[in-house]
């Protein structure tokens, strides 16, 4: 039974009232070329029973691959309690509630989330989350343009070492806002952004500098130097960080002499399954003095008239329902459910758990690097320290190699050539805390075999 309240009698009565012969008539003004006609490729409906069987069958063909791909989404252990609690009826909503203050539990959770994220990043304030890391960066760019009164150029320096998808999303979202996004090349031996490549912009009107940590190659940037350079050139600083890495690395709030102005990133590593690319959540933090330029919702703590602690949406005059077209952003919600999971995840692991998880990722990736680099022909592309990803140069093309690995149930990594033509045969690999010694061995052995086989094929010289 379809859940549509109208029947033919009601429909006919309405058509008669407006003087239309049939419903089709109402759509006449849409040109025929724009109409899809019959949806021939949509199969007929299936029963719940049939669809369940179909999906199980399809799921079996996925197999249980060993994942060595990072590149922005990471497979981590998620304690069973996280989603058990997050899917409780009291939390199970994607949104901040409309009558926010009536849902004190939800607001308290968001407040705790903000507190945890500011603790990780070392920043003053956090919003209640955004859609994902890439759109959080786009919001951060727009925020920097609003906040940097001194700068008129709307020019933002973005390292090429930043995630390519983030750069694309930033371009898409800010395209019609008159921003000038300038790409800064990375050092070919270190994989990081060197001060020398910024030198050409010294003394110019620069609105902001984006600093990824770790960058897309897993490489650690000289964040202190970069932050100080931006300060010296009156540019705001925008950190794009992996929140898990922050349990080991210097928090952006303390980078350089002043700390950064804005800090954003993707929250997926904090208890969100990879789920074929989403939903994830973005986080965005700032210095206190920029709080009125922040996008998104912010939960504050206050007390009621009896003096008891209570939580409330605060600083709403920035937002769309009050400031209308002059709002800081058209984001007027948050990723409530994902943030609920992340908050429970952080609370479950605690400081120490997060640190141990991050340290295990780092150690595993170093082990993997050591093992793979012992295969003749495989070398590290960059010589700088990394967090939990590494770029390796293979002695053969990455795409067919990844295909062979997949045939053995191994997702071997991310082929960088598709985004960086200059990084030929370069593979971005990641080994999180979930990869065991046996997993690393299996990857090593399989890749070794593939390369040996390929190598003997290419070395074969026909003897005339």
């Amino acid at each position: 039974m379809p859940f549509i309240p109208h029947n033919d009698i009601a429909r006919n009565a309405m058509l008669e009232a407006i003087g239309s012969a049939d419903i089709e008539n109402l759509f006449q003004e849409i040109p025929a070329s724009l109409r899809c006609g019959e949806l021939t490729k949509i199969p007929p409906g299936m029963t719940e029973f049939e669809i369940t069987r179909l999906m199980h069958k399809k799921a079996r063909t996925d197999g249980q691959s060993l994942c060595f791909i990072g590149a922005g989404a990471y497979e981590h252990h998620i304690p069973a309690a996280v989603w058990q609690l997050a899917t409780r009826g009291e939390f199970y909503s994607a949104y901040t509630p409309y009558q926010a203050e009536a849902s004190q539990g939800t607001l308290q959770l968001l407040y705790e989330y903000q507190s945890m994220i500011t603790a990780l990043t070392g920043m003053d304030v956090s919003n209640a989350s955004l859609y994902d890391g890439a759109s959080a960066l786009a919001e951060a760019l727009l925020m920097a343009v609003r906040a940097n009164h001194r700068s008129k150029s709307r020019r933002i320096l973005i390292p090429r070492s930043l995630h390519p998808a983030y750069r694309k999303v930033a371009h898409t979202i800010t395209r019609n806002q008159g921003l000038d996004l300038v790409e800064i090349p990375f050092d070919i031996s270190g994989g990081h952004t060197q001060l020398e490549s910024l030198a050409a912009y010294a003394g110019q009107d620069i609105t902001a500098l984006v600093i990824p940590q770790p960058n897309f190659f897993g490489v650690l940037e000289d964040v202190n130097e970069l932050t100080n350079w931006a300060n010296a050139n009156k540019a705001l600083t925008i950190a794009v960080v992996n929140p898990l890495a922050l349990s080991l690395l210097q928090p952006p709030g303390t980078w350089g002499q002043t700390g950064v102005d804005i800090c954003c990133g993707d929250g997926q590593p904090l208890g969100i399954p990879m789920s074929f690319g989403g939903p994830y959540f973005g986080f965005l933090c700032a210095r206190q003095n920029l709080v009125r330029q922040m996008p998104g919702r912010i939960v504050g703590a206050t007390c009621d008239r009896e003096g008891k602690i209570g939580y409330t949406l605060t600083l709403q005059a920035r937002e769309q329902h009050i400031r209308r077209s002059k709002a800081t952003s058209n984001i007027c919600t948050n990723q409530g459910l994902m943030v609920t999971a992340a908050t429970i995840f952080m609370a479950t692991l605690g400081n120490e758990g997060l640190m141990r998880m991050a340290a295990a990722c780092h150690a595993n990736t170093n082990n993997l690097t050591k093992r793979l680099c012992s295969i003749p022909g495989i070398t590290r592309v960059f010589n700088r320290p990394v967090f939990h990803e590494q770029v390796l140069r293979l002695p053969l093309a990455t795409k067919p190699c990844l295909k062979s690995l997949a045939g053995h149930g191994i997702l071997g990594g991310y082929a960088l050539e598709q985004d960086y033509p200059e990084l030929e045969n370069a593979l971005l690999v990641c080994a999180t805390e979930l990869r065991t010694e046996e997993d690393l061995d299996l990857y090593y052995e399989t890749l070794h075999r593939i390369i040996t086989a390929q190598g003997s094929a290419t070395c074969y010289q026909p003897n005339f």
Binding site: H149, R150, R292, Q316, A317, R318, I322, R323, K326
Partner: protein, 147 residues
């Protein structure tokens, strides 16, 4: 005037929005004081602050910024609204009332004194002067808006 309540009402009404005689005004509820030497001090009127309610934040223009008349130059924010302040004259900002950063309530308490917002150096007053309202004209405007 025998009715004491009416008397109180009148007293209350005339005091509800003070409109000092020595200032100029705009239809957007800003006041302008001529400080001499081409310097003009600008704030929002008593009527405007009463309409906005308790202010929680004031975003002031940076010194040396140059504005055309009618450009948005500041924002006053109350708990449930934020309003733009439009520059009543063309000129360069030479001073701003930084005390408002921590004490936005000065605008509520003393809109024509401690609640001043910024000072402009105006080069060609003649261009914009005609657009300003004298106290009587502004009082008439408030009277129509208040009804």
């Amino acid at each position: 005037m025998d009715n004491p309540r009416l008397h109180i009402y009148k007293f209350f009404k005339t005091n509800m929005s003070k409109i000092p005689k020595h200032l100029k005004y705009t239809a957007e509820h800003e006041w302008i004081r001529d400080d001499g030497d081409g310097i003009f001090c600008i704030g929002i009127t008593d009527y405007a602050q009463a309409q906005l309610g308790d202010l929680v934040f004031v975003d002031l223009p940076d010194v040396t910024t140059i504005f055309e008349r009618g450009e948005e130059c500041a924002v006053v924010e109350s708990v449930k609204s934020a309003s733009d302040v439009y520059c009543p004259l063309s000129g360069e900002v030479v001073d701003s009332n930084t005390a408002l950063e921590n004490n936005p309530e000065f605008i509520n308490q003393d809109p024509y004194g401690e609640g001043w917002m910024f000072k402009l150096k105006v080069a060609n007053l003649e261009d914009d002067e005609g657009e300003l309202l004298d106290p009587n004209a502004y009082a008439d405007l408030v009277a129509t808006e208040a009804h």
